[in-house]
């Protein structure tokens, strides 16, 4: 705060013009984010059918109680947790090592950088539709499996493989973005540190362990937290590819609440589920901030 005040000698005047220039964003943020956020908090304590707003009534914590008592809620939460725990570490590791590789002087470096980034600028819906075809019984994945002598299967049609298939797709489609973030972090590491490490006789793994990893800790924290939050909200892929099936094996929390809100008109219940998910995400982010931040001071 002191830093900002010092660099800004006329705070009142600039505050007014700042507000003016910010107003389009502030209005849309307030209208489309802050208001719905508050509104859904109120809704989570109500029984609310959008077709019959006149019948809305407060039910206290009944929605939360019903959610905790619904086995499908726990199924959806378990699937979501499997998704998060299964994809975030894999994506982070791939992105990290790829960034280290792409930071070295290799031929066609910018070609690779661009290539790995491409999936993250493609619409999730497009990726989901393409992968739906790849995973289909006559699709490319089965062709490859047969080539290696395996049995073709219906990847999205079997409860055992559907979620795993979507997780694999998610890793593929997202690691490029995080690779670029890690690359940016790597380029901020002073080369003197590496020179000193070489002089001290440190090998590749030693340098990685004692220079790269600690120096990248802030960006790692950012990548892990952002990716965790995004993964908890997995919805489009499910909506396009499986709609929660088969046998609820891909039913995730956001899809579950969407189903309740827009097919069964239980807006209050869906809002309660949304806030329960919010609590879970908050807890996760808090834990990550707490444990990944250790040692940050040493790096700085």
């Amino acid at each position: 705060m002191t830093l900002r005040a010092r660099s800004n000698p006329r705070p009142i005047h600039s505050g007014r013009s700042t507000l003016t220039f910010l107003s389009p964003w502030l209005v849309s943020f307030g209208l489309f984010w802050l208001f719905p956020l508050a509104f859904s908090l109120v809704l989570s304590f109500m029984e609310f059918n959008p077709l019959r707003p006149d019948l809305a009534r407060f039910v206290g914590l009944a929605n939360f109680g019903a959610a905790v008592g619904d086995p499908l809620f726990w199924t959806s939460l378990r699937n979501t947790l499997v998704f998060v725990v299964g994809t975030v570490p894999v994506t982070t590791l791939i992105a990290f090592f790829l960034a280290v590789a792409l930071n070295r002087k290799i031929p066609f470096r910018s070609f690779y950088r661009a290539g790995f980034f491409v999936p993250s600028i493609v619409s999730v819906v497009v990726i989901s539709i393409v992968f739906k075809q790849l995973y289909s019984p006559a699709g490319l994945v089965n062709k490859v499996v047969e080539l290696f002598g395996g049995d073709p299967r219906s990847w999205l049609g079997e409860p055992g493989t559907a979620l795993l298939s979507i997780m694999a797709m998610d890793v593929w489609s997202s690691f490029g973005y995080y690779t670029i973030l890690f690359l940016a972090g790597l380029q901020g590491i002073p080369p003197e540190l590496y020179e000193a490490a070489v002089l001290d006789g440190s090998g590749f793994w030693g340098t990685l362990r004692f220079v790269t990893v600690p120096m990248l800790r802030p960006i790692t924290l950012f990548v892990v937290v952002i990716n965790t939050i995004r993964s908890f909200q997995i919805f489009i892929e499910i909506f396009v590819m499986t709609r929660g099936g088969p046998l609820n094996s891909t039913l995730t929390s956001v899809f579950y609440l969407y189903d309740r809100a827009f097919y069964r008109f239980e807006m209050g219940y869906a809002s309660a589920v949304g806030y329960l998910l919010f609590a879970v995400i908050m807890a996760f982010s808090f834990l990550q901030m707490r444990y990944l931040r250790v040692g940050r001071g040493a790096a700085e």
Binding site: F21, S28, F29, A138, G157, L247, F262
Partner: protein, 459 residues
């Protein structure tokens, strides 16, 4: 434009001011990002999203302004009715143009909805009081809207039409009629004639009974590697019951009792049907609808129960494929019926709509014999909800579409229960549990039966 000299003297303070604004802007973005993060939303994702919403907002204000100015112009010339429907403009606009020509003084503002988000859009419009005058609804949505009291009662308005149209049950709740049946879609048996021939079967004799269906599926599956006899739907909700219930209905089964007060799912007829459905699995491709459609087009699927959309998509995507359409097989010769799933599209007007009389006029025009047949011909995926449509000269020269029209006569519409969406979910779950061997047919149906009992008894 200011002269260059003025520009240069002002340049420094202006730049400084811009810088201070930018500083503030950056700070704002930072704090915004922090708020987004706290709200469990990645800032990188949300910031552009809110920008999009902002620009969409501006755009919609412009559109609104245009619409308002348009409305004020049209007010002098007569009534304007708003009509929401799901057909593409080139299919529906010629019919609307004819209506406007025949009814000077009424203009129709048509808006096209999509099946992906139309439902949400209608719900939002009804709850905010911006509902259209006339609206097309899927038949499974009608009971829910009717039970919530948002649809206009049309019982006396349509009394003279009842004998000429089918599917009144789908738009009737407690003896009150809430809509007019427009078009209907059903499911029939599609079969690949070449695969039939290769398997040593007569391509002109599709299976008529369960036993024949099973035998054909077995032979086709055995005829070549990577070829499946039948397509079993799975992995998608809201679709499975449309494939299983035709067999159950054909066997005399039901979901609810006739008065819709109690479930009827746990019955010998339904268990037999589900056992038979499960017995097809060894020769079948177990997949989602679009994958089954794709496999059929690729010539890898012998038979599937699917909808009228294939009548236009299969010839256009796979012109060389020789296929036939037959009625859904019945349990045995002389026993049961060739039942199928029937879904219809219903024209409704809302209790709060402003121009009900004009909307009804348009509805009557749309469902009139010539117009509804013209629409069905253009769309191919649906058939008229009209009694005796199969005798129309068009269907006599189009046998595949005629099969669909005939199939409609023995097709069953799901019970018009306000909680049907929840009820069908339980049927879907039971079918999946049996297909994946989690439960036996009787156990799965009994569990679903009990859950449906809970759903119905809940207020």
């Amino acid at each position: 434009m200011k002269s260059p000299s003025v520009e240069s003297t002002r340049a420094v303070p202006v730049r400084r001011r811009i810088e201070s604004v930018l500083r503030g802007f950056r700070a704002g973005v930072r704090s915004g990002a922090r708020i987004c993060l706290a709200a469990g939303v990645p800032a990188g994702v949300r910031a552009p999203a809110s920008a999009c919403v902002g620009s969409a907002c501006v755009a919609s204000v412009c559109v609104l302004a245009l619409a308002l100015s348009g409305a004020s112009c049209q007010k002098q010339s007569g009534t304007k009715i708003v009509f929401w429907q799901f057909w593409s403009a080139d299919v529906i606009n010629p019919i609307i143009a004819q209506f406007e020509k025949a009814n000077p003084g009424i203009t129709v503002e048509m808006q096209q909805l999509t099946w992906q988000n139309g439902f949400e859009k209608i719900v939002a419009a009804v709850s905010s009081g911006t509902q259209p005058d006339l609206c097309e609804l899927g038949s499974t949505w009608v009971p829910k809207f009717a039970a919530d009291g948002v649809l206009a009662d049309l019982t006396s308005d349509v009394a003279d039409m009842r004998d000429d149209y089918l599917f009144w049950d789908s738009c009737t709740l407690n003896d009150t009629v809430f809509g007019i049946p427009w078009v209907a879609g059903t499911r029939a048996l599609f079969y690949n004639k070449e695969l039939f021939a290769k398997a040593g079967l007569d391509p002109e004799k599709p299976p008529k009974t369960w036993a024949e269906l099973s035998a054909c599926a077995k032979k086709i599956h055995a005829s070549a590697a990577g070829v499946y006899g039948f397509g079993l739907n799975t992995g998608e909700r809201y679709i499975l019951f449309k494939k299983f219930m035709p067999l159950a209905w054909g066997n005399g089964g039901a979901v609810l009792t006739a008065d819709m007060r109690r479930p009827a799912l746990y019955s010998v007829q339904n268990i037999q049907a589900l056992d038979f459905y499960r017995s097809l699995k060894p020769y079948s491709l177990v997949e989602k609808q679009d994958v089954l459609d794709m496999a059929f087009k690729q010539g890898k699927l012998g038979m599937m129960i699917s909808g009228g959309w294939n009548l236009s998509t299969v010839p256009s995507d796979a012109p060389q494929l020789k296929f036939g359409v037959a009625l859904v097989p019945r349990p045995a010769a002389g026993r049961g019926s060739h039942a199928s799933f029937a879904g219809s599209e219903i024209l409704v007007t809302f209790a709060k709509s402003k121009h009900k009389a004009e909307a009804l006029k348009l509805a009557r025009f749309l469902v009139s014999r010539d117009n509804v047949i013209a629409l069905s011909r253009a769309a191919k995926s649906v058939q008229p909800a009209l009694r005796g449509a199969e005798d129309d000269p068009y269907y006599e020269t189009h046998p595949l579409e005629r099969t669909f029209v005939i199939q409609l006569k023995t097709a069953v519409a799901p019970p018009a229960h306000p909680k049907w969406v929840e009820i069908e979910d339980e049927i879907d779950a039971a079918v999946e549990e049996v297909l994946y061997d989690r439960k036996a047919s009787g156990e799965a149906l009994l569990d679903a039966h009990k859950k449906i009992e809970d759903i119905i008894s809940r207020p």
